[in-house]
Amino acid sequence: MSTPSVCPVPSTPRRKLNETLMALPSSAIREFFDLVTASDDIISLGVGEPDFVTPWAVREYAIFTLERGSTTYTSNRGLLELRQEIARYLDERFGLSYSPQTDILVTVGVSQGLDIAMRTLLNPGDEVIYFEPCYVAYAPMIALAGGVPVRVDVRYEDGFRINFDTVEAAITPRTRAILVNYPNNPTGATFTAEECQRFAALAEKYDLTIVSDEVYAELTYDQPHFPMPAQPGAYERTVLLSGFSKAFAMTGWRMGYVAGPPDIISAMTKVFQYSMLSAPIMSQYAACEALRRRHQDVPGMIESYNQRRRYIVEGLREAGLDCHMPEGAFYAFPNVKKFGLSSREFCLRLLKEEKVAIVPGGGFGAIGEGYARCCYAISIAQIEQAVEKIARFVKRL
């Protein structure tokens, strides 16, 4: 006698995903992104990338390397040719001395550089001091690497300048690193030479590593950029993160690099080797060409951003918004508190009523609440329309 076969009752798998990941809030900007994408005919000041297409000479060179058949893996650290170009650039432009052989690692965007820096530097429970408002990935990257993000707020009232007493008060025996970003996304503030020196002094005093995201270094308008590794005593303690996305208009190529002391770079290369193997060769060759051509391509773009920076800030102020003049990057971060709406509500209504997209400041950290990020990497004509619409909108509030 045979028993009839019974279909097993389907059960829901009881998945147990990574707890640290599950505990992370999802990006507040995501919700806003979905709303904006669903609307038509909007003027978006919500972007975070140049409106320039990568210069044709760079694109054409990448096509050439494809045609000649450069389609392989490269050295884990990246093409030596590219590391040499990066070393030459860092030396000529910022007076930094890095060896292409041992001190530079080519990464897939600055985001990956940040990720592997954290995975390299941190043991479980190590603390990393970072500053809000900031790029959305900082705290999650620290947490996912097993670290503990320790937030220090930077305030509009202080002109978005760092309060070093607060920084020092946040340092504990578990503090391993300080993560900085200047010129800053979203505030547009940057560091003076003295501020850089104070970070370097803190790192020395407490034996910390500075992870310095300087991807907007070229986009500094009123003062030169002071690279962290150039500060007295900082070279041995700094991991410099940078890349090609912003100043070279190459976001989609995903090209970044890390420069630092050889022991850290060597350890980071190990993480990179197991997780990525090598950055895309086509993008690496394009980056070589972008560096060789930087004197032709970059200054015009910087001058253009500088003009738009003055134009948008003037326009926002005329519209009745309080706004610091950004010192770098391509974002203005006006204060919208006096209109009595949360920044989310302000941005949602502006989107709905005037079809202008700006990003609620709360997405860049709690201290960003009451502000909104306006990217001015769009045409002057669009900026003009956007500020007119913003002016009309706030008059109604």
Partner: protein
């Protein structure tokens, strides 16, 4: 180059108020500076860049290579002057290489341009030869690409 010139070369219709805001100057300053540039003939004029196939003027453009025998004393200049004074001549350059002057002539028909070359240009004293090329299609003029070529794929919101 003055940055005002760069802005006007990119778009000559940029309002003075906008230039002022972009450069952190006052509109009065900008107006004064532009007037000065015009007075010094740094700025020679303002023209629109027109899509040749959309403006319906049906103009024919001839590019003419002109070989000339330079004259004692005035070199190429006096003969160039005799050529560029014709209103049909829109452009006249002295070049290095196989011929001497590059002349661009506009007319309402092939016949009109050809007649200008055969009757007025090639018959000039000291002109020893011409070669005429007619433009069939303009892909790019004054730095402007005629077709919309670049695609805009930017995401509207990026952190």
């Amino acid at each position: 180059m003055d940055v005002i010139l760069e802005i006007l070369k990119e778009n000559a219709r940029t309002p003075n108020e906008q230039i002022a805001k972009r450069l952190g100057r006052t509109p009065e300053e900008v107006e004064r500076q532009i007037a000065q540039l015009e007075k010094e003939r740094v700025i020679l004029g303002y023209q629109a860049i027109v899509h040749p196939e959309k403006c319906e003027d049906n103009l024919v453009t001839g590019i003419i290579e002109v070989k000339i025998a330079p004259q004692r004393g005035s070199g190429f200049d006096s003969i160039a002057q005799r050529i560029y004074k014709f209103p049909e001549v829109k452009l006249c350059y002295l070049l290095s290489g196989a011929y001497d002057l590059l002349v661009i002539v506009e007319g309402h028909s092939l016949k009109e341009v050809a007649a200008f070359v055969s009757e007025r240009l090639s018959t000039l004293e000291h002109v020893s030869g011409t070669a005429t090329h007619f433009i069939l299609k303009k892909y790019k003029d004054f730095g402007v690409i005629m077709q919309d070529v670049e695609t805009q794929e930017r995401l509207p919101v990026i952190p």
